[in-house]
């Protein structure tokens, strides 16, 4: 067991180091902005002392590395700074804290992602394993072509097809996913159906193809042939011989696609005007509200790194070769 523990700790350390470098990159992006961007935020008519106060608030009078650690310290305590918007040239400050803006939207995005994952992951695994077992059969070939097509479709096109069919022509679901303040759980599900369906379609294809490839790889290995030759039933071959070795690739597939969800969310939320952090990020990029862009970027990148790390760790922990040391 010792070797497993060492490998897991190594992987965790690597994840933390990566996260550190990513945070440095994300922080450096604001430092790349030209020094007079305070004027762009506050407007041309900004008073000298307003600009000075704003610069002070951002800590621009301090060297970059000190600013970085102050920022990182704040982030670790859930403080992402304050938004650029809502500041006036006269010095009146109606800006809101980034954490306060992000929190409800993060919840909405997680809700959408969870809803997608609950449908997409089992379905993709089932389709992928079935296609691998009936390799080159009619089911496999038709589903391979179908996934190839659905991988090629842009998310926004899929989303508008669903809007046209289910919202406009059939009228069952709202074309715009607006979550009202007093919305119940079922209201949330009702407005999230179309975005979740879109995300399912774009992630399921990747997930299915990767599952299929992983299982086909394993089915071709000598020990599976050996098991078949000694008369083990098809069910037992899959459960006892293939699956223990398949957890690692399957975990990778799932994590990769949940990570892919992170990207898909940005476009899909914009199409449905779903109040999540994906749309918040797009809006903030257009208005160049850097603290929000930074916070969203950090959340997305952090989730991505975390998911990949979990997949690797599952792969290490379930690896039969590491579990039975010589």
């Amino acid at each position: 067991m010792n070797s497993v523990l060492t490998t897991v700790i190594q992987r965790l350390a690597l994840g933390i180091i990566t996260l550190f470098f990513v945070s440095v990159i994300i922080f450096a992006m604001v430092s790349m902005l030209p020094g007079d961007f305070t004027q762009a935020v506050l407007g041309q008519a900004a008073l000298e002392e307003t600009v000075e106060a704003f610069r002070k608030e951002l800590g621009l009078d301090q060297p970059a590395h000190i600013r970085y650690f102050q920022w990182l310290g704040g982030v670790l305590q859930g403080d992402f700074g304050t938004s650029f918007s809502g500041r006036a040239a006269s010095g009146i400050d109606r800006s809101r804290s980034v954490a306060e803006l992000i929190e409800p939207r993060l919840y909405n995005t997680l809700f959408l992602a969870a809803m997608t994952a609950i449908v997409a992951v089992p379905l993709a695994l089932y389709l992928g394993i079935t296609a691998a077992l009936h390799r080159n059969g009619f089911f496999d070939r038709s589903i391979s072509t179908a996934t190839l097509v659905s991988i090629s479709l842009p998310e926004f096109l899929v989303a508008y097809v669903f809007i046209a069919v289910f919202a406009v022509l059939w009228g069952k679901f709202p074309p715009i996913s607006e979550i009202r303040p007093g919305a119940t759980f079922f209201d949330r599900i009702h407005v999230s159906v179309l975005p979740a369906l879109t995300l399912t379609l774009v992630t399921i294809a990747h997930m299915m193809r990767m599952t299929r490839a992983a299982i086909i790889n394993l089915l071709a290995s000598p020990y599976v042939e050996m098991a078949r030759l000694k008369g083990v039933s098809q069910r037992d071959v899959i459960i006892k011989h293939v699956l223990p070795n398949a957890w690692a690739p399957i975990a990778t597939v799932i994590a990769f696609n949940l990570a892919y969800l992170v990207i898909g969310v940005v476009v899909v939320e914009t199409v449905f005007t779903y109040p999540g952090i994906g749309r918040l990020m797009v809006d903030s990029v257009s208005s160049r509200d850097m603290p929000i862009v930074q916070a969203c970027g950090l959340i997305f990148a952090g989730t991505y790194i975390l998911l990949n790390m979990i997949a690797d760790i599952i792969g290490i922990v379930t690896n039969p070769r590491l579990l039975h040391p010589r």
């Binding site: 030209p34 090629s152 998310e155 046209a164 997305f300 990148a301 991505y304």
Partner: protein, 309 residues
């Protein structure tokens, strides 16, 4: 025939010389499945639109007519948009802009990623270590998120510069994946004896890259070019759709989908108007489907690099 004079290579070369290069290509193409043929014909059509856009399109790219939202007619085959620009003409110019920019970006990305990958594989010193670690960190951030952050951070003033900014950002981010692949496949070739021989001959880095290694890693790179192109193409379309990529008045399919999408809600009342948004969207999808079909066939041809054994 005596066995001493016989050489297998000679027999093969006889067959090869009997057939011209064109003939051999035709034989390969004839065996291509229907999907690959479909893909190639579509790609050819897009290329023609791209190259001859000003001659095919009936009106100018940003030419504004008096009537916005015009009906479909002889002069405006798909009507006009909210500003009175001919939609059909903008679609054709869109082929030039959207596909052209994606193609340029992919080429730049292969130039950067492929070049660095080859150098890293040949050099294998601290340079390889540095580039590989930097690539690891860059790959840890989802590329669309990274692109969004960079687009926000870098300010541009003119439309030309914003397109250049877009091309450079996407190309650099995408080159990380090209670097990984190039380095991985080149490492297998670098250890070959003929590369060693070339080194001992005193050939320079450029020669070893171009003449010894590149020809031997061409098939996976060509397939990767197709895949990366469709990925870049979809990324740029998505960014334009979000209003952050190619900026108007340049005709571009992603932007067109966004502009025409409001009509989807009127599908019940006016089918033509409601379906307009699906034309540029479909144009994007059709090209990526076509490229993927061709790449799939190509990968099957040049050994089972995909999942087939």
């Amino acid at each position: 025939m005596s066995t001493e004079n016989y050489s297998a290579a000679g027999e093969v070369s006889q067959v090869r010389t009997r057939r011209t290069w064109l003939h051999r290509m035709w034989i390969g193409l004839r065996k291509a499945p229907l999907t690959a043929w479909f893909g190639m014909i579509i790609i050819l059509g897009y290329l023609i639109c791209m190259l001859f856009a000003p001659w095919i399109a009936p009106h100018g790219e940003a030419q504004v007519f008096a009537i916005p939202y015009a009906e479909w007619s002889e002069t405006h085959r798909l009507g006009t948009d909210q500003l009175g620009r001919d939609i059909f003409s903008r679609l054709i110019f869109g082929a030039r802009n959207t596909v052209g920019i994606a193609l340029l970006t992919t080429l730049l990305s292969f130039f950067i990623g492929g070049g660095l990958g080859l150098i890293a594989a040949i050099n294998r010193s601290w340079l390889d270590q540095i580039i590989s670690r930097v690539v690891d960190v860059l790959l840890a951030i989802p590329s669309l998120i990274f692109a969004l952050m960079l687009l926000a951070a870098v300010e541009t003033t003119t439309p030309t510069w914003s397109i250049i900014k877009l091309i450079i950002i996407i190309a650099v981010l995408d080159s990380t994946r090209v670097f990984r692949l190039t380095r991985a496949v080149a490492l297998n070739v670098v250890v070959m004896d003929y590369v060693e021989a070339a080194r001992l001959r005193g050939e320079k880095l450029g020669w070893i890259m171009r003449r010894e290694i590149l020809p031997n890693i061409m098939p996976p790179l060509v397939a990767e070019f197709g895949l990366r192109f469709s990925f870049v193409f979809l990324t740029i379309a998505a960014l334009s759709f979000l209003g952050l990529g190619i900026q108007p008045p340049t005709a571009d399919w992603g932007t067109m989908v966004r502009e025409l999408s409001t009509f989807v809600n009127y599908l019940n009342f006016d089918l033509r108007l409601g379906l307009l948004a699906f034309i540029p969207g479909g144009a994007i999808a059709l090209l990526t489907v076509a490229v993927n079909f061709v790449v799939d066939w190509f990968l099957h041809q040049t050994s089972g690099l995909r999942d087939e054994h």
